[in-house]
Structures are given as C-alpha cells and as structure tokens.
Symmetry: C2
DNA sequence: ATATTAATGATATATTATAACATTACAAGT
DNA sequence: ACTTGTAATGTTATAATATATCATTAATAT
C-alpha cells in the first residue's frame, strides 16, 4: 500500500504513519501491562479511528470493518468501541454520536473537544487538567468557539447514601 | 389539582409551584419581547420539563403530551424541544439523549451539568461564566464527580476561510 | 381579503444502540 | 492433554432516538 507520510490532523500537519504506529504500540504495551486482550478486532477499530483522525459513527466504522473482513454486525463494532473507550484509547463525542481516538492516551485527563459544525473535525484539547479553559487552545488553533457544554457524570449525595458501592 | 408547595430539585427543596410559574412567565415575557410564538404545545412541553425537573427523553415527553391531548407523534415533541433549546429555555443533555429545563433562563451562560449516573438527576451549575470549574458547585451540593467531558462547538479556521457565512 | 410565513398533523423511514443467545478462543488448574 | 471457567466474537432480532417529507391549519402582514 502507498505510504502517506503526512496528513492534516486537527489543524496541523503531522507524520501520520509515525503517529498511528506510536499509538498502536502504546495501546499494545498498555494492554500487555494490564493483561487486556488487544485482539485483531480491537486493534483494527483503533487503527480505523487513528487512520481517519476524526469522529466516526459506529456504523461508519462497521462498514470499514466489513471491508476488511472483520465482523459485520452492529454489536461487533459497539463492543470494540466500548473496550477502547473504557480503557482510554478512544472517546465518544456525545454531540455527534461518534467516536474518536484519544490524543493523549496513557495520560490521566478529562477530555475536552472542539468540534467544527461544518466539517465535524474533532480536536482534543491538550490540557490534562480538570479545570477547563479552551480559550488558549482555541486561539492557538484558530478555532472559533460558538457554544460549549460541560457534562459531568458522578453520583449525587442521596444516591451515595442509598447503597454501599 | 392538588398543590404541592415544595419538591426536591437538584439536591435541595424549593417551592416548586412558584418555580414553575416564574419560569413560565419568564418564557412568556421573552417570547413576547422577541415576537416568538409561545404556543400551547411549546408551553406544555416546557411545563413538563419544569414539572419533572430532571432530564426527560423525547419519547417520555411525548407520552405526557399524549396524555394531555396535545400531539402524539415524534416530530411534535422534537419540534417543540428544538424551539425551547434554540431559545435557551431548555438544554439537551447529550450524554442522556434527554432534555432539561434551563435553570438560568434569560441569562447568557455556557451550560454545565452534573448528572447522577444512578438516578439521572441533572443539576445545572449556576456559573454564568465560560471558564468551567464545577468543583465548588460539586462540593457545595455533595455531588461526587467521576468524569467530565467538555464539548465545544464552533468553526475551524479552514471552514471559516471556505465560506462567507 | 389575500398572500406569506410559521406551526402542527401525519406517515414513513433513517440512525443509533442494545438484548439475548450460540459459538469459539483463551487461560488456568489438574 | 483434559477439564473448567471466562472472555471474546458471531448472529439474529429489536429497541430507542431522530428526521424527512408532505398535507393541513393557524398566525401575520400587506
Ligand atoms: Zn483523550
Ligand atoms: Zn471545519
Ligand atoms: Zn441553562
Ligand atoms: Zn442520584
């Protein structure tokens, strides 16, 4: 296959082959370390997300899986995606009902994204902190934020009281 | 009908009748001011959201609409919800595919929510600013945040260049 | 009154996601 | 190697969420 050495990601160019390989190797190492099964299916889905470098819906991913002969029914894609999200290799963009490879794998972070309403490109902010201020990233990348929504999931005090775990 | 004078909202008690009436009157005034049609259907959907004071899915809302004789098909609910969201009377909680009445109507704000993963109660943070720090609100209300996601929608610089508007 | 626009009604269908159960691969202990 | 339990995948069916389209009615403006 042809080897493209650079590709536009976020708003910048980068060596995409290296980027993809690095991410896959990192996932491999992580799974190794934590005794997780980085199966061909899971690897392929992560590769798809890394290759595209933008948010893809489950059914778009499923189409690509079908082409490569790995699975063809919705649960196959959703299960692989669950695994990737659960272990921090990917995120779900709720607003788009779509999934994107994590730009900061192996790093503890609260994901924050900038999503273009025209082209649906998704850029993950590089701020590992939990206090959110996208303005710097937005300015740096030339992204014009129009509206923002923060959704925090957790447990309310009345639910904590009700049950042990 | 029976008049309940207080109801648990967020994590506190409040006079719910007053709360509901105030919000409806505010919406009425706003629509009046901006020549928007606050139709019986739209009013009813807002009332439903205010009454429940938690996130409701479109189909749950539709069931309640049906009971009151106002519309029974999905587009009816979705159109009313679009109107309410568009004009800031309600928000969509993407994570839940559900809708909630805005707690700060008529106030310019970037919505931020705390969502309990057990009971799905949704509390809108009272911070009108766009820099997000939920920790204060979380501590004050006894909510234990487990994970947070920020999604900013806007337009990337390459899309801005492509078109006039 | 009439034209224009906005809202609603109604039917059909698209899109996203999961439940349930069968089968296969893997890991661990014997 | 054999058994046993567990995890992953295959497969079918269906649930839940959302929109496209066109017909009808209501509101607004000229
Ligand atoms: Zn990430
Ligand atoms: Zn764009
Ligand atoms: Zn609000
Ligand atoms: Zn709760």
């Amino acid at each position: 296959m042809a080897s493209e050495t650079s590709k536009s990601v976020g708003f910048e160019q980068h060596d995409h082959d290296v980027c993809l390989e690095t991410a896959i190797k990192a996932a491999e190492a992580y799974c190794d370390r934590f005794k997780l099964q980085f199966t061909p299916l899971r690897r392929k889905v992560l590769e798809i997300l890394l290759e595209e470098h933008r948010a893809l819906g489950a059914y778009a991913i499923l189409d690509l899986l079908r082409e490569s002969g790995l699975g063809s029914q919705p649960p196959v894609a959703y299960r692989a995606l669950s695994f990737l999200v659960e272990h921090g290799f990917a995120h779900k963009i709720e607003r788009l009902n779509a999934f994107v490879a994590c730009a900061l794998p192996d790093t503890l972070h609260s994901p924050a994204f900038m999503i273009c309403r025209k082209c649906d490109i998704v850029v993950e902010a590089q701020s590992p902190s939990s206090s959110f201020d996208l303005s710097a990233t937005a300015i740096a990348t030339g992204f014009d934020i129009e509206q923002t929504i923060l959704e925090a999931e957790g447990i309310c005090h009345s639910c904590v009281e009700k049950v042990p775990a």
